[in-house]
């Protein structure tokens, strides 16, 4: 299973980023062999709109089954849901590794829908 963590850096030691759509990178862990890949999301930093939708496509294209981020808005959730990706939220201000720990321990809640409003509502 592949799990994507939103991050501002490019390794497990990098800070976990609470924003989904406008995080710099996704750190993707494959728990079958503990391999790590980095999915670029920098194109979204300056997106006028729809960053969450584009980020959701980026992780879907990377073939992930789960996303761990701080929050998830309605459009991002709808897109992730359509791709069959589960969304977990994490309050951590630590590293991606800390968030991974919490995920493995089953401490992170899974979202049934968006947990924040869209920017236009």
């Amino acid at each position: 299973m592949k799990i994507a963590f939103s991050s501002s850096g490019d390794s497990l030691e990098s800070p976990f980023e609470s924003r989904f759509g406008r995080c710099r990178k996704f750190i993707v862990l494959n728990d079958a062999d503990d391999s790590v890949e980095v999915v670029d999301n920098t194109q979204n930093l300056n997106a006028a709109q729809g960053a969450g939708i584009q980020a959701a496509q980026n992780v879907a294209n990377a073939g992930v089954q789960c996303v761990v981020s701080g929050h998830c808005g309605p459009k991002a959730f709808m897109t992730l849901d359509a791709a069959g990706i589960k969304v977990y939220t994490c309050e951590s201000r630590g590293s991606v590794a800390d968030a991974l720990d919490a995920f493995k321990k089953g401490e992170l809640p899974q979202l049934a829908g968006a947990d924040v409003n869209g920017h236009w509502q």
Partner: protein, 283 residues
């Protein structure tokens, strides 16, 4: 001839000035309320016949799922992230769509057609020689320029003469859409640090799209003289100064106009608009 009344900062008196200008000219005049997110010109106009309204639509993509093979060409083409392609499904977010029509053209399967989406309405009426039209964007619609452009088109073809456009505040797409067809732009500001800051951005925007312009300072005896210094330095004419007036505020709260509260402003308004018209005719 179209004259747009705009500003950077909100609440500087665009509507107050637009309505007063429209009511102070004797000739046939059209007043267009392009502040479609908060239209309010009509509140200050004299008693009028009921508004005639029409609905405004924009085209947005509709995907025929029986033809779509989720190839993703449309999502890659869309610069506004209004389409998401996930290999197994293609989603349309119509409130992000800018109605360019590109997705329908580029779809290799012909699976995308454009369908009308209601975004707002335009109301219009006449009072004697005055024609009024104003747009109202539906609540929740984030994109206003298509409606603003429709409002600009609503002056009956048979009418010539002066058109006054009350623009939305700011300097982003809605403001640019409202002033885009203007022959002349009047920038309303106030002599405060905020007023000056946003005036500078508005001047930069108006220069970028090459529109002749002047400045009107509202509540001119409040604040300081930095707006005047700036205009002086930049060579921008200050066409009118409107004093700070409690009477004006009271009249505004009762739906009355500047001409009711400060009749002494009428000659200044008339000469400003006549100068603008004269200046443009000389070109």
């Amino acid at each position: 001839m179209k004259v747009a009344v705009a500003s950077g900062k909100g609440g500087t008196g665009k509507t107050t000035l637009s309505v007063a200008l429209a009511l102070s000219v004797e000739e046939p005049v059209s007043l267009l309320d392009c502040d479609v997110e908060e239209p309010n010109c009509h509140l200050f106009l004299p008693k009028h016949e009921p508004m005639q309204t029409r609905e405004v639509f924009v085209p947005v993509p509709h995907i025929d799922e029986s033809l779509c093979d989720n190839c993703g060409a449309c999502a890659r083409f869309c610069q506004f992230n209004a389409i998401a392609s996930l290999g197994v499904k293609t989603l349309v977010f119509s409130d992000l769509c800018h109605s360019c029509g590109g997705c329908a053209k580029i779809c290799p399967k012909g699976a995308i057609t454009e369908m009308d989406k209601l975004i707002g309405k335009i109301g219009s009426f006449r009072i004697g020689e005055l024609f009024f039209a104003g747009g109202t964007l539906d609540v929740g619609q984030p994109i206003s320029p298509p409606l603003i452009k429709e409002v600009l088109k609503s002056v009956p073809g048979s009418r010539d003469g002066l058109v006054i456009v009350d623009s939305p505040p700011g300097t982003s797409c809605p403001m640019v859409a409202a002033v885009s067809e203007a022959d002349f732009v009047i920038l309303v500001t106030e002599p405060t640090p905020f007023g000056l800051h946003d005036l500078k951005i508005a001047v930069e925007t108006i220069r970028e799209i090459r529109k002749p312009h002047c400045v009107v300072i509202n509540r001119c005896d409040s604040g300081d003289d930095r707006v005047e210094q700036y205009c002086d330095k930049q060579g921008i004419q200050i066409a009118l100064k409107i004093p700070d007036s409690r009477n004006m505020a009271v009249a505004y709260s009762q739906g009355k106009t500047m001409l009711d509260a400060m009749p002494e402003m009428r000659p200044g308004l008339e000469s400003m608009i006549n100068n603008v018209i004269l200046q443009q005719k000389r070109k």
